[in-house]
């Protein structure tokens, strides 16, 4: 390290004016300064991202104003853009993913934290952490070549049982909101499991012991005592997973069908904010289109920022509660 290098040729000067450079030369202040600069650069980079998004979306914000968020036309020829189909697709696929992922994720977390023997729990947790490490483009690859054909072959069965609902009408080409929701569900399950599990493990042992001492079964102590105690934290883990799925790009782009439309049917293809940026940004020919896509990026940033912040508050209050008792 350069700090030790500097400290070897330290100079002792009685003059007060040279005190700062003296302290700098003694190494301590220099080291402090270096790590402080690194820490400050994190603050700087994050603020810079927000600033660049804001600055580069200026053209789009001036042209469309707030109606950008409610407009539903996407017309590159006349340069008229509305974000609603993308916001709709993002929210619908994420909601669908949560619907499928919550029971599995929370169930598995309860099993791993409360019910399973420690050896089995550790081994399974290890494997689930590996699942979280699988890159999203791999999920997309499996989505295109495995999930979409599977959904195609399951289509008659879905129509026969749930076909009366407005969500399963219209033609089905495989690539759809449904397929995107499925892929996202698989991707967020490991996050819900590992964070919920940690929140559950943070519940003080005396809560369980008290319930068991009163004659509750293992499940009763888990479901009636431990889970409500950790409730806010579990909701927090779900919100963290939601933030992830809103910003998820590649896997969604590959299976959602990339059609800017708003359709009640989950069989219909759709589009998400992240997917339209991924598809159109590199080839964005006009300044306006690029500015519009950057504004969409800003919308995505704002959404994930709010949801992440909310989730963290929930998780922090739960772990504080565990420490206080």
């Amino acid at each position: 390290m350069e700090t030790s290098e500097i400290s070897t040729n330290r100079a002792r000067s009685p003059e007060r004016a040279r005190r700062f450079s003296d302290r700098l030369a003694s190494g301590d202040t220099a080291a402090n300064l270096i790590v402080f600069l690194a820490a400050a650069s994190i603050v700087f980079i994050t603020s810079w991202i927000v600033f660049e998004l804001y600055r580069n979306s200026a053209a789009s914000r001036h042209e469309f104003g707030w109606s950008f968020l409610t407009g539903s036309s996407w017309d590159p020829v006349n340069e008229h853009y509305g974000a609603l189909p993308f916001i709709y697709g993002t929210i619908v696929t994420s909601a669908l993913a949560l619907l499928m992922a919550i029971p599995f994720g929370v169930g598995a977390a309860i099993f791993l934290a409360e019910l399973a023997p420690p050896r089995i729990s550790n081994a399974l947790t290890f494997l689930i952490e590996l699942l979280a490490a699988v890159p999203s483009v791999i999920y997309g690859l499996l989505g295109i070549f495995v999930l979409v054909p599977m959904l195609k072959s399951a289509e008659p069965a879905i129509r026969a049982t749930l076909g009366f609902l407005p969500f399963f009408k219209g033609p089905f080409y495989g690539v759809s909101l449904l397929a995107a929701g499925f892929v996202l569900a698989v991707m967020i399950v490991p996050f819900i499991i590992s964070i919920s599990r940690e929140v559950l493990l943070a519940v003080p042992a005396d809560q369980r012991e008290a319930a068991l001492a009163l004659g509750a079964t293992k499940w009763e102590s888990t479901w009636d005592i431990v889970v409500p105690f950790a409730g806010k934290g579990i909701v927090g883990s779900i919100f963290l997973a939601l933030a992830r799925s809103l910003g998820e790009t590649m896997a969604v782009t590959m299976v959602i069908g990339n059609t800017p439309q708003i359709s009640m049917s989950l069989f219909a293809p759709g589009y998400s904010i992240a997917a339209v940026i991924a598809n159109e940004f590199a080839e964005a020919s006009s300044e306006m289109l690029r500015s519009t896509l950057i504004e969409l990026g800003m919308v995505l940033f704002a959404l994930t920022f709010l949801i992440n912040g909310f989730a963290r508050i929930l998780i922090i209050t739960t772990s504080k509660k565990g420490n206080a008792t």
Partner: protein, 282 residues
């Protein structure tokens, strides 16, 4: 046994089974993914994949040597950006923190961690590509480097905090200055854990695709230097998978298999090292 007790015990076992099944399904998905990639990608993998350039549509054979080198170059730039800032930021939070400013740094780190990867790509585009007017390896590497920072900060801080206070006190008692104690005693004690944490961080960004598609872009040939567009493994998987050609799909599976093997290998290895050292990973 009263009916009531029977019902309670039955519920206990039914729920144990059901929640256990949830966990098994989640783990089953991992083995399904592994098996499917091994079956589809591993079987069609050959030496050409690692040594040859991609060939035009219609010709068979060819490989993704340029994408492998491209990913390596991108990760090198990413480490040069992400590791110093992340590691030193972690040192700040662990050794010098405690003020309002470290709250701000932690908050911003969390915020940066939550930024969708595609938005980081937009940032790299506006800051670098808009000025250079062409796609480049450098821009892609910097985007990945920014993505590395939050995890590097957090793991460095966590592992440095795990170093016992008695080590710091012993160093200071022997007359070392604070910075000298940190550099010669605290950091070496946590170094292998920190390096493992950074390996995990690298494995995470190695599979990132979204920030690369409009920064490093892609390239069917070798990318000389650092200022040209380059192909990378994840972007190749993406563009080959959405192409209409069977031969390209086969290549996408092979590339997917290689990428997944690399990422999982680093993960298994690092997590085993950390587990043996007794560090709990969050």
């Amino acid at each position: 046994m009263t009916p009531r007790l029977f019902y309670r015990k039955a519920t206990n076992y039914v729920m144990l089974t059901l929640t256990g099944l949830c966990a098994l399904v989640a783990v089953g998905i991992l083995f399904f993914i592994l098996g499917y990639l091994l079956w589809n990608g591993g079987t069609s993998l050959n030496l050409d994949f690692f040594t040859k350039l991609p060939v035009p549509v219609g010709e068979s054979g060819g490989g993704m040597a340029n994408a492998l080198v491209g990913t390596g170059k991108l990760l090198l730039i990413a480490s040069l950006v992400g590791v110093p800032i992340g590691f030193l930021g972690g040192v700040y939070l662990s050794e010098y923190g405690g003020s309002t400013f470290s709250f701000l740094v932690r908050y911003m780190t969390d915020l940066l961690n939550g930024v969708p990867s595609i938005v980081i790509g937009i940032f790299a585009y506006t800051v670098i590509i808009l000025r250079q007017h062409h796609f480049s390896t450098l821009a892609g590497g910097i985007a990945l480097g920014i993505m590395m920072i939050p995890i590097a900060v957090r793991s460095s801080e966590e592992f440095l905090r795990a170093v016992p206070a008695s080590l710091r006190e012993a160093a200071v008692a022997l007359g070392a200055s604070k910075s000298r104690a940190i550099v010669t005693v605290v950091i070496p004690a946590a170094l292998d854990a920190i390096i493992t944490g950074i390996m995990l961080d690298l494995a995470r960004v190695a599979g990132e695709t979204a920030p690369l598609i409009f920064t490093a872009f892609g390239n069917q040939f070798w990318s000389p230097g650092w200022n040209q567009p380059t192909s990378s493994l994840p972007v190749m998987i993406y563009s080959y998978a959405i192409s209409p050609y069977d031969e390209w799909h086969r290549q996408a599976w092979s590339a997917g298999f290689v990428l997944l093997s690399l990422v999982l290998f680093v993960n298994v290895f690092s997590r085993l090292v950390l587990a043996r050292k007794g560090h709990a990973r969050s």
